[in-house]
């Protein structure tokens, strides 16, 4: 199926960059970014702190089998590089990685000149598996998120990890994963979901081909603008959603029903017994026999009542105005306003919810109304409150 239509980008998701930082670590945090291994603190050429940090980096490297080689650079002032001293420092640091279990064949050391005026430091860069281009990167993850090529070999993944074509991404109960695709699009896999990353081809003039296969659960997609002739498809067992707009959700239910909710733009729903375009504000579904239902309006965003702000000793009761046609409500509480990480999802029958076990700190919350057939409406405005026991 080909979908060639003008693309519109109306809404861009703002999210924090992928970080795997823990101030308690020996390096002050380690980040794998754009082929560089960035440490939270500058890495001195030698010393016990450097050694401890390199051991920690070695553990992080061993946990990433896609990384095939590491280059360690000792950038020292010219006076300290004389007679191979710089290279000796780099090789000594490389030996720490090897001693910590990184194969010697994958570690190399160099001593490039330092930037004039800057103190000497160690830098690390890596090369990932070359044959497969990175299709997506995990921008945010909360709960159990794992990925792998076959269901039997799924490994836990964290923010910043690369994902390749053909890999399966799995979210557990209450978990959620946000992917930054290589074409700039954002895909959120909701709880208890399974998504296979298909082809992702980037061509000249912003033309691209993105194919995702939703095996279970719900994905929420914000498609980046693409050039003429671009394809962006989310396939389920019974239907294909071809993007002609920007923001939509697709759900693959256990009973074989595929549900589509278009929040912005226009999305084509293709099933065995017909296809239709679903414009923003409407939803439709493909039944197990391949028939599609006429589009239906999505439920409006609930109006939030309380709390809209403030500090509470315990988690306050969340209340909102009831939405006509809503059978239940999905309440999301998160640590960040983009609802990318640390998201907790609750179901509520009425227009209020007592949230159990919210820890100390700032929390953001929003509510989505769900109709009798499971169609999820527009999200409410986001409000925040603080819990200070």
């Amino acid at each position: 199926m080909k979908r060639a239509a003008p693309w519109m980008m109306v809404w861009v998701l703002q999210a924090t960059p992928a970080l795997a930082v823990d101030a308690g670590e020996p390096c002050g945090g380690v980040r794998f970014e754009s082929g560089r291994i960035e440490t939270g603190r500058p890495l001195a050429p030698k010393g016990p702190e450097t050694e401890a940090c390199l051991k920690h980096v070695a553990e992080a490297l061993k946990a990433r089998p896609a990384i095939r080689s590491v280059t360690l650079a000792a950038r020292l002032p010219d006076a300290e590089r004389l007679d191979g001293q710089g290279l000796a420092v780099a090789k000594a640091a490389a030996e720490v990685l090897v001693a910590a279990g990184v194969p010697r064949t994958r570690v190399s050391a160099v001593a490039p000149p330092a930037v004039p005026g800057e103190p000497g430091q160690l830098q690390l860069a890596y090369v990932e598996r070359p044959a497969q281009p990175v299709v997506a990167r995990l921008r945010a993850a909360s709960g159990d998120v794992s990925a792998g090529t076959v269901p039997a070999e799924l490994r836990p993944r964290t923010t910043g990890d690369a994902l390749y074509a053909g890999e399966l991404l799995l979210t557990g109960k209450g978990a959620r994963a946000e992917l930054a695709l290589a074409d700039g699009s954002t895909v959120r896999l909701m709880e208890d979901g399974m998504l296979r990353l298909g082809a992702l081809e980037l061509m000249a003039n912003l033309r691209r081909k993105v194919q995702l296969e939703l095996l279970r659960g719900t994905v929420e997609t914000v498609a980046a603008p693409g050039g003429e002739g671009s394809i962006f498809e989310v396939r389920t067992r019974g239907a294909v959603a071809g993007v002609r707009g920007t923001q939509f959700r697709v759900s693959a239910q256990e009973d074989g029903i595929s549900r589509l909710e278009t929040l912005e733009g226009r999305v084509g729903l293709i099933a065995k017994k017909g296809d239709l375009d679903v414009v923003g504000g409407y939803g439709s579904r493909a039944m197990p026999d391949g028939a599609t239902e006429p589009p239906r309006p999505l439920l409006v965003a609930p109006t939030m009542v309380d709390p809209r702000d403030g500090t509470f000793p315990v988690a306050p009761k969340l209340t909102w105005a009831a939405v006509s046609g809503a059978r239940r409500y999905r309440v999301e509480v998160a640590r960040t306003a983009d609802f990318g990480a640390g998201v907790r999802t609750y179901d509520a029958r009425g227009a209020e919810l007592e949230v159990p076990d919210l820890g100390e700190g700032k929390w953001f919350w929003r509510v989505l109304a769900v109709d009798a057939d499971g169609f999820i409406g527009f999200p409410s405005k986001i409000f925040a409150f603080d819990v200070r026991p």
Partner: protein
């Protein structure tokens, strides 16, 4: 009191040519204004003339004494027995061989944006692992075999050896690509950062891109820096401007020529950056002769004796540009008056232009100066038109002003390097000349008609022949 139509025509006629002359002048000034607003000269009407001027009439860039092109030519590929792209191991050998000659800098017109093949390495690693797991490596023969295999695998890791060679060289500037919408997609750098962005406050580079692509991280880390290889190609396919800076997401990144210049002359960094910002980071280039850059084949670099005097003379202390010139492999870049120029040579021209401050300026002050100069020429012609009594005198004034304009534009381009629009003033002069000619023709016609009327009247009142004069 009433006026006859003939009288009103006589009264209005002196104003009409002035209005049309002003309109003609306005067309000329508007053309200059459009040229200024669209980035400066040469405008689309005068590109051919500019190409002729810059390639034939402007003084050529003197032959370079301290730059050299090490080319991957057909002979190098045949000697190496490799196809393009060369293996990382070969590149590592090449950079080691170059480093042995102690060049001042090595600018590379190549992007190593993908890791080299690792299938054989991974197979070797698996064998090594199996050797160790089986316990064979604990026996003397097995240990020797494992050590030998490990050493071989280490030697075969092309990316690592290339990184070492780049670091040993100490002055290698790698290529990078600003990803514009019209170029084939390369994997963009995720953080979009090549190295350190250029501080170009208040200047939005003329060339804007959506992302940046570069060599793999270990190579970027080992090299001195990276610079973009992009060119600015005009609508007619000719490269007249060189983008010293490229804008990506509000940050500016240096080109290969600028990055090399900053490495070679750190003491002039501020002035080089200021120069590179000329014409929104993409000034017009002065062109060299076609054989301006001395060339050395990579085959000679790799196979000559490292102690060779010839190689030493060719490379020691020089700025070496490395790029591909083999048939069918290099970009067919077209410069004014020159076709099929390898892109690597254009970076070398650009570096020479920058360090010798030979850049041509055509936007900003130069562009609006061009508008004023065009207006001044046309105003002078308007004044001369009013004072001239004959069409011949007007024609002479137009020719004189055209030549003066040409001389001024030529001198400004050749000496201070300001490229002003040439054609708009000529168009304005031409239109004003036509208007003046027509007006003078009409006036002549009116005078003739008046004379004719007079002559018609005179015979009627002429004295009759005296009676009897003929008798």
């Amino acid at each position: 009191m009433s006026t006859s139509p003939a009288e009103s025509a006589r009264r209005s006629s002196p104003r009409r040519p002035a209005v049309f002359r002003a309109l003609g002048a306005l067309v000329g000034v508007a053309l200059a204004g459009v040229t200024a607003a669209t980035g400066g000269a040469p405008g689309f009407l005068e590109r051919g003339l500019y190409d002729q001027a810059v390639s034939r009439w402007l003084p050529e860039v003197p032959r370079s004494a301290d730059m050299v092109l090490v080319e991957v030519d057909d002979r190098a590929l045949a000697t190496l027995g490799e196809r393009w792209p060369l293996s990382r191991a070969t590149w590592a050998r090449a950079f080691r061989a170059l480093a042995a000659q102690r060049p001042a800098a090595v600018a590379v017109d190549v992007i190593f944006d993908q890791p080299g093949p690792r299938e054989a390495l991974e197979l070797g690693e698996d064998v090594l692992e199996a050797l160790r797991t089986s316990g064979l490596a604990e026996q003397p023969a097995g240990a020797a075999l494992a050590a030998d295999l490990e050493a071989r695998l280490h030697a075969q890791d092309g990316d690592a050896r290339l990184a070492e060679a780049l670091a040993e060289s100490g002055g290698v500037i790698l290529g990078a690509a600003a990803l514009t919408e019209d170029m084939p997609v390369m994997p963009p750098l995720e953080d979009g950062a090549l190295d350190t962005p250029l501080p170009l406050p208040g200047t939005a580079p003329r060339l804007q891109a959506r992302a940046m692509a570069g060599s793999i991280a270990p190579l970027r880390m080992a090299a001195r820096s990276s610079g973009t290889l992009n060119m600015l190609v005009d609508g007619d396919g000719v490269i007249r401007r060189y983008p010293y800076a490229v804008g990506v997401g509000g940050r500016a990144w240096p080109s290969l020529a600028l990055a090399t210049a900053l490495h070679l002359m750190p003491e002039r960094a501020a002035s080089l950056r200021a120069l590179a910002a000329t014409d929104q980071g993409a000034p017009l280039m002065r062109l060299p002769a076609p054989d301006w850059l001395p060339r050395v084949s990579l085959a000679d670099v790799l196979h000559a004796d490292p102690a060779s005097v010839g190689l030493d003379l060719a490379l020691r202390g020089k700025t070496v540009f490395v790029g591909v010139t083999a048939m069918g492999l290099h970009g067919q870049s077209t410069l004014p008056g020159q076709v099929a120029v390898p892109g690597v040579e254009i970076h070398a021209f650009a570096l020479d232009n920058l360090r010798s401050e030979r850049l041509l300026r055509s936007s900003g002050l130069a562009a609006w100066g061009g508008v004023l100069e065009t207006a001044a020429v046309l105003l002078a012609f308007a004044v001369l038109c009013r004072r001239s009594r004959s069409l011949g005198a007007v024609l002479r004034a137009a020719v004189l002003l055209s030549l003066l304009h040409l001389a001024l534009v030529g001198w400004l381009a050749a000496d201070p390097g300001w490229v002003l629009p040439l054609v708009p003033a000529w168009v304005g002069l031409g239109l004003m000349l036509v208007v003046d000619s027509v007006a003078r023709g009409e006036e002549l016609g009116q005078q003739r008609s008046a004379l004719r009327r007079l002559f018609v009247r005179y015979p009627q009142g002429a004295p009759e022949t005296p009676p009897g004069s003929g008798q």
